[in-house]
Amino acid sequence: MSESRLPGWKDLTLGLAILEPMSARNNLTGSWRSERPVWDHTKCIKCGVCQMYCPEACISQDADGYFQADMDYCKGCGICSRECWTQCITMQQEEV
């Protein structure tokens, strides 16, 4: 596997500014995940606490009002599961 060369000091932007907006999206933190959140819609009251606490801001609401995580970015931290009022989110082991 070839490692791409890191930039030298002459290659840097002025003051290390990042010129591409939202470039953090290129970092797919979903690759860090060992557990995934799974919602039980029978217990979910659609309160949105999971969305508010998600540190990746990767949880969104679907057309029916239920919540889901974007698996490109969900890093499996489990905060949504911990904070859920009705304990409707369980963390399930990812298959290896």
């Binding site: 000091w9 002459k10 840097l12 002025l14 003051g15 290390l16 500014a17 990042i18 907006p21 470039s23």
Partner: protein, 397 residues
């Protein structure tokens, strides 16, 4: 060549007030400052100029100096020409943001009325405040009189905003012995100022229509390269600094160099000073030369980037160099300027001995006689006396 200034432009004015009016002539967009002690009349006068409608700028009276420099960073990042002034404890409170201003490559101009740091509580002149900020990555210049303080305000904007530089610039002028003195200052016409500094065109700016990120995390993989780039551009800025002084000479006839000399021809010993006491030292050198003593003076004007070559050129032929520091490096090598000078000379085969004096601490007056004593002590070392330890000039037993 020097054009004789019209008499109407030569004013008897307080140095601080002239600097505020230079900032007005430079047409600054934002002044963010903490407007009480420790301060000078600079920001007080700027607030009047803004309130009276003579300067179309935003005056932001913040709640601390930490906030003042933070607001300056935000303002400069948005592309506004930004100015502030501070002193002693205020500069110390800005400390952590000073590094950020330079790392973000923001061309902020700041006047620093150099004064002692507490404690004991002091509002008087020395270089204790600025020596704590040596390594903040700013361009740092010391001036010796009111005319230079006024002129250097234009030089600061000209250099800081140059796209090959883009670094913040500190104009160091001694508190009280310069800041509160009334003396003759020849103003530039507005046309000349406009011609010299033009409009500020930012290379990068915060803009909601074209968003960028300034100040991201520098992980270990990139922090080192960022610091190298900063160090490189600060060192390289010397060429732009000197070029801008050359152009100023063409416009107003006053010549500024990174290292200045005075009566060094045939001098066996030189005193070395920085800032407002340099002119008092010249008076002492005049008297000693009249008495037939081979004494001269070297003054550091450009402190960062440090002018290594120019310094060596100025001191290499003397036998002993008497460095006059305005700050005590407590428990350290004595004076910070002397220790840098010694570092700069260490690897040279031919180099003068260095005698160290620390004078004018916390507002203690440095008289012509004091400089004469220092010169004579330095001369005695050239005549074979043993090298003395650093001396706190005037300290009582």
């Amino acid at each position: 060549m020097a054009k004789a200034a019209p008499q109407s432009l030569r004013k008897g004015i307080e140095v601080s007030i002239s600097m505020a009016e230079a900032a007005m002539q430079a047409n600054v967009d934002v002044v963010a400052a903490y407007p009480i002690t420790p301060q000078t009349h600079i920001v007080e006068h700027l607030s009047e100029l803004v309130a009276d409608g003579r300067l179309d700028a935003e005056f932001v009276p913040v709640e601390s100096e930490h906030s003042a420099m933070s607001a300056c960073c935000g303002s400069s990042a948005s592309g506004a020409r930004t100015y502030t002034a501070t002193s002693s404890q205020g500069l110390a409170l800005m400390h952590e943001i000073l590094y950020i201003a330079s790392a973000l490559r923001l061309p902020i101009v700041m006047a620093v009325a150099n004064r002692a740091l507490s404690g004991p509580i002091s509002i008087w002149n020395d270089h204790g405040d600025i020596m704590a900020e040596r390594d903040t990555g700013w361009i740092q210049v010391f001036v010796e009189n009111g005319q230079e303080a006024y002129d250097m305000t234009f030089h600061a904007f000209r250099v800081a905003e140059d796209h090959g530089v883009l670094l913040p610039y500190m104009i160091n002028f001694d508190g009280f012995i310069l800041s509160h003195v009334i003396e003759p200052i020849v103003y530039w016409s507005q046309e000349l100022v406009d011609q010299y500094i033009g409009l500020y065109e930012p290379m990068l700016r915060l803009d909601t229509k074209n968003p960028i990120t300034m100040g991201p995390v520098g992980i270990p993989d990139i922090y080192l390269e960022t610091r190298k780039a900063h160090d490189f551009v600060l060192r390289e800025s010397k060429a732009t600094i000197v070029k801008a002084w050359d152009e100023m000479e063409k416009l107003v006839g006053r010549r500024y160099r990174p290292i200045e000399t005075y009566k060094t021809d045939g001098a066996r010993i030189l005193l070395l000073t920085m800032g407002g006491v340099s002119e008092t030292a010249m008076t002492a050198v005049d008297a000693l030369r009249e008495a037939g003593l081979p004494v001269g003076l070297v003054r550091i004007r450009l402190w960062r980037p440090f002018p290594f070559e120019e310094l060596y050129e100025a001191v290499k032929d003397c036998e002993v160099l008497g460095v006059v520091d305005r700050c005590l490096s407590t428990g350290g090598p004595g004076g910070p300027v002397a220790s840098e000078i010694k570092g700069a000379l260490y690897h040279k085969d031919k180099r003068p001995k260095v005698v160290e004096f620390i004078a004018g601490i916390g507002g203690r007056d440095v008289r012509v006689e004091d400089f004469q004593d220092m010169a004579k002590k330095t001369l005695s070392v050239a005549d074979g006396a043993p090298l003395p330890p650093f001396e706190l000039v005037g300290v009582r037993e």
